[in-house]
């Protein structure tokens, strides 16, 4: 059984405009998925639907074979953790310790257990020495790492990153990407939402969204073969493809592209 299965979901914030249109897909346990789309294509809306923050008007979502609805959303949210874009708008606690604890406090986990998990997961994201630091003394990347520790401490095994790196500098961005990679290796299911093609190509599979629809959802190599997909959906091109296209002689262009893909 798929760990996430979305079946014919449509959603509109208000009547005149649908932000998700007939979305269907499934994700297997342990996969690393990238959801790629330009601004306003419906990626965040889809993410919110998958953690039950919004309820689609049409269609069904199954997490671990349990249908997501008002009654089950509380329990299913334990399985799905989400890290949002703005580091500042998801840091709830005053200190790092408080923030990592927040989700566990809500789950009524005993204090001793919380203290253990906090130390463990803070160490894991290399924030173990900062437990008493306040949010205003942390960098954006550090805050995102705290957010990751917060959802790991809740023992979520599906991790959604909604443009979690887009407000960070390139160096820190790579850092967070490395965390995603290693968490995925450990067995977590990782869903990485991004508008950055170069980030997306690290994933196993890429879903391209445009205007609330899934345009393509396939293995990364397959997606990369189809150059038109990027251009038609207003996405930046992968650097290698961009270089390839700059080269006039088509024989060379295709060779360079093929070479980049192999790499």
């Amino acid at each position: 059984m798929s760990i996430i299965s979305v079946q014919d979901v449509s959603f509109a914030y208000n009547d005149d405009h649908e932000s998700l249109k007939n979305i269907s897909f499934s994700i297997e346990k342990g996969e690393w998925i990238a959801i790629l789309g330009h601004n306003g294509s419906g990626k965040s809306t889809l993410a919110k639907a998958m953690v039950g923050l919004i309820e689609p008007q049409v269609g069904e979502i199954f997490i671990d074979s349990v249908k997501l609805n008002e009654e089950t959303s509380y329990d299913l949210r334990k399985k799905v953790g989400i890290v949002f874009q703005n580091p500042d708008n998801q840091f709830v606690g005053v200190t790092v310790r408080d923030d990592i604890a927040f989700g566990m406090e809500n789950l009524s986990i005993p204090r001793e257990e919380m203290l253990e998990r906090i130390q463990f997961y803070a160490d894991k994201v290399e924030m173990g020495a900062y437990l008493d630091k306040q949010a205003s003394n942390l960098s954006g990347g550090q805050k995102q790492r705290v957010a990751i520790a917060g959802i790991l401490a809740m023992r979520s095994d599906i991790l959604i990153f909604d443009e979690a790196t887009s407000m960070l500098d390139p160096y820190t961005r790579n850092d967070i990407l490395e965390y995603m990679k290693s968490l995925n290796k450990e067995g977590f299911t990782v869903i990485m939402i991004t508008h950055d093609v170069n980030e997306a190509i690290q994933a196993d599979r890429i879903m391209i969204m445009n205007q609330g629809r899934i345009i393509a959802f396939d293995k990364t190599e397959e997606i990369l073969k189809n150059q038109k997909l990027f251009i038609e959906n207003h996405l930046e091109l992968p650097i290698a493809l961009e270089i390839a296209l700059k080269i006039d002689k088509s024989e060379y262009r295709d060779k360079i592209w093929e070479y980049a893909l192999k790499k």
Partner: protein
């Protein structure tokens, strides 16, 4: 850009830091009531002495407490002067003629200039102001070398002196007490102490946990919002806005240009924060465990005993003396 510190908390050691915030809050309420029970200035002086001892024992630098008095320093001085000038009962303590003449006015201006210059290079601003005020008194009293424009009798009565000392010392003690609390207690601990003390109000429908959560989120976001205001101001300034000068109308315009983006950002922020909280299984009113807990220790017991002794002392002073 994280220069904003909320509250006056200064990290330190000493028993006052180890006390449970609830102990501090309850004790301070009782001590304040005790202070208001006291009858005359001599009892207040004793209380003041005890207060100083507590500060020394708690290893709190007096300088920091004095700094905490800064906002009400002017109030203290004017209260003192008014009481002395207006209360005309009891024996006459001193009766002097004040001379307002060319020289004395010149001397006051000179003193003012010297005071302003010293203030720029000196840390003891309050002390300098005090010296300046007292200086004015002596200038008008003793400079008599030229014909007066105007002169008047400045009479200090015993009761006036006593009352002014009474009011000022009482205010001083009260402010010192609250300063001790804010100086030695983290805002988060204060919030949590308050939550715990207000917990019984649940019966009348007041949810102290939610109240505390709101306060702690506010504490969390005050620095962020200030930083943001600064950034927006910089952005506006780079487009030619000037927040410090201009006519009232221009100023209002600039304030609006600051407030509008701040409100929009705050609105988005609150939506996102609510999403983040909900996605981490927050449900309002639901029971939750706590990472930060308050515990009483033996020091708290001593403190309560001390407080009760002070309180009993004040009651005895009120009833017997």
């Amino acid at each position: 850009m994280n220069s904003i510190i909320i509250g006056q908390y200064i990290p330190g050691k000493g028993f006052l830091y180890r006390l449970d915030p609830r102990t501090k809050m309850i004790s301070i309420i009782f001590l304040m009531v005790s202070v208001f029970l006291l009858q005359n200035v001599y009892q207040l002086f004793i209380a003041f002495g005890i207060g100083i001892l507590v500060l020394l024992f708690g290893r709190i630098s007096l300088l920091k407490v004095i700094k905490g008095l800064k906002p009400i320093f002017l109030l203290l001085i004017f209260t003192f002067i008014f009481q002395i000038a207006l209360n005309k009962s009891g024996d006459v303590v001193s009766d002097t003629t004040m001379h307002i003449n060319l020289y004395s006015i010149g001397a006051v201006v000179l003193a003012f200039v010297i005071w302003r210059i010293l203030v720029r290079f000196n840390k003891l601003k309050m002390l300098l102001f005090l010296v300046f005020v007292v200086g004015i008194y002596f200038i008008f009293r003793y400079i008599t070398y030229s014909p007066d424009f105007y002169s008047f009798q400045f009479t200090i009565y015993e009761k006036g002196l006593e009352m002014s000392a009474f009011v000022v010392v009482r205010l001083l003690i009260i402010i010192t007490l609250t300063t001790i609390l804010t100086l030695t207690t983290k805002p988060t601990d204060l919030t949590q102490g308050m939550e715990s003390l207000l917990h019984p109000l649940k019966k009348i429908g007041f949810n102290s946990e939610e109240f505390a959560l709101i306060i702690s989120i506010s504490l969390r976001y005050i620095p962020t919002i200030f930083d943001e205001a600064q950034k927006i101001m910089l952005a506006q300034a780079s487009r030619g806005a000037d927040f410090s000068e201009g006519k009232l109308k221009d100023k209002l315009k600039q304030i609006v240009s600051l407030l509008v983006p701040m409100f929009i950002i705050a609105f988005i922020r609150s939506e996102e924060l609510a999403d983040a909280m909900e996605s981490r299984n927050f449900v309002p009113g639901q029971k939750r465990t706590r990472i930060n807990i308050l515990t009483f220790s033996i020091v708290d017991v001593y403190t309560f005993v001390f407080t009760l002794l002070c309180f009993a002392g004040a009651i005895v002073a009120k009833v017997v003396l």
